[in-house]
Amino acid sequence: MTGDAANAIEARGLTKRYPSGVLAVEGLDLTIRQSEVYGFLGPNGAGKTTTMRMLAGLVKPTSGSAIVAAGRPGSPESLARLGAMIEAPAFWPYLSGRDNLRLLARYCRVPDSRVTPVLKEVELAERADRAVGTYSTGMKQRLGVAAALLKAPDLLILDEPTSGLDPQGMAEFRDLIRQLGQGHRTVLISSHLLGEVEQICTRVGVISKGRLVAEGTIDEIRGGAELTVRAQPADRARQLLEEAVGADRVGLLADGAMSVRVDLGRSGELGQLLVMNGVVVTELRAAGRSLESVFMELTGTEAGE
């Protein structure tokens, strides 16, 4: 398959059946554009990690194909531009964090001078000279991200990076990932923690039982965002809103308020429109289904399961 240069990942019909007979991923089509932070959502056992393993070249697909960072998964072209942390990061326990990165730098032909900056980037520089065997889970996760960043990759694949962290560690890690996703870098992050994905990702895909069951922005996944508007005079407000977004997108709620199906980014614009036309706005708020309820519907599970 030939990939579109505007996409960091393009997978078509990706399927993995393990020798045990377990069908982990089935006919997965996935397109991740350059520079986006893409959240891969799904309950445990949905096929997220297997998909990431296939994209990183660790596991061979039973069928289907993929282009990852402009190369076949596992090829030198792809690996040169890919940084990945799949499941719990694994390191050589007798080496220090710094020496582990120096070792990986040799594999990748990256100069040793790159090690200290990435250790600083993940805030591990001060503890980098301790043996990895003595590291906490959070420190290992940070070192895992540092290892993934060593090649200054265009594409970063992170599989449940906050798994095993305490709440403070999770919050710090979210900030870190948000920083990493700024600029031209593409980030694919898997998680079953919906709040985490909601805060970090620009687009998400939901996988269940090995199949991609939904894909889009958070608002799109929630079935389109809704604004609840209460204003006086109500008729004038409804007329203005119908002109602005289309009559089919404005509905009347039982309590007299209006629901407007629209991109939430337009809420400020609509509020201003009403006010400038002499309408008194008493309520204007985002409403709609939570990501959690949509996730449960799509995957047939309890959220966070």
Binding site: Y18, L58, S75, P76, L104, Y107
Partner: protein, 281 residues
């Protein structure tokens, strides 16, 4: 790519304490049993009756016998430690999950495997040189203590000896490495490897040769037999550890070198095939 992988693999092997503990133990046993205990027994015979017999051990401790003395343990003690080193070099990667970490780096699977094998080969050369250097130091010390001349074999003979020892080390290490690749762990690789090196091949063929000469010919293709032929080609010295083989016609050193080299290449190819087609979970 292979050079980058070799540099990484050597970085990790050379900094691993277990590697140097294993080599240190090998040297301690080689010197302790091969030189110190032998010297003490030869110089302090338990009875006058044994004195003449034990005195024959002494020439084997002098520098002139360095090569045959160093190789006298090659197929037993040295092979055991080399097998352990080879199994650890690969098996631990599966145990720690670092196979996955390494395979996500730049070089690609085959290059990394090649780098691993070259690093193990280099380590075996270091171990061989240490065995020879420590043996040379011990033999010189004993010669000085006995007032005996310090005269080594020719440089060429020593080089051949180093080459022979290195090849036996290398086969055992690659065998351990291969078993660890097959079983994806160290423990089973070391257990089965030691069983084979010390017992299985010798025992199986000791019985099979009774069924006909074809089995004797077949045995000449097997690795431990060829390690023994290569070891024997450097002569034998009397000693506590030295294995005494009844004099008989056996394949040449060239046959042994070719056979061992083929076994090494065969195991490397098997490892590459497994590594290439396997999923890394």
């Amino acid at each position: 790519m292979i050079l980058a992988a070799f540099r990484a693999e050597w970085f990790k092997l050379s900094r691993r304490p277990a590697v140097w503990v294993t080599i240190g133990l090998l040297l301690a046993l080689t010197l302790g049993i091969g030189y110190l205990v032998t010297y003490l027994v030869a110089t302090h015979p338990p009875s006058a009756r044994d004195a003449a017999e034990l005195a024959t051990l002494r020439p084997g401790l002098y520098p002139a016998a360095l090569v045959s003395k160093a190789l006298s343990n090659a197929n037993t003690l040295d092979a055991i430690f080399a097998l352990i080193l080879g199994a650890l070099a690969q098996g631990s990667e599966y145990g720690w999950g670092t196979v996955k970490t390494a395979r996500m780096q730049l070089p690609g699977r085959l290059a990394i495997l090649s780098g691993q094998l070259f690093a193990v080969t280099s380590l075996m050369l270091v171990a061989t040189l240490l065995v020879f250097a420590s043996g040379a130091a011990a033999s010189c010390t004993i010669a000085v203590a006995d007032g005996h001349s310090i005269a080594f074999a020719s440089g060429l003979d020593i080089l051949k000896g180093i080459g022979g020892e290195w090849l036996i080390f290398e086969f055992a290490a690659v065998f351990g490495f291969g078993l660890a690749t097959v079983f994806r762990q160290s423990a089973m690789a070391i257990g089965l490897g030691l069983g084979y090196v010390l017992l299985v091949e010798a025992l199986a063929f000791a019985l099979l040769v009774r069924l006909g000469d074809a089995f004797k010919t077949a045995h000449e293709l097997f690795p431990m037999a060829n390690s023994q032929y290569l070891q024997n080609s450097f002569g034998q010295v009397g000693g506590i550890v030295g294995v005494v083989i009844a004099a008989r016609s056996e394949p040449t050193a060239t046959h042994a070198v070719v056979a061992l080299a083929l076994w090494i290449v065969g195991i490397a190819v098997l490892c590459a095939a497994l590594d290439k087609q396997r999923d890394i979970l």
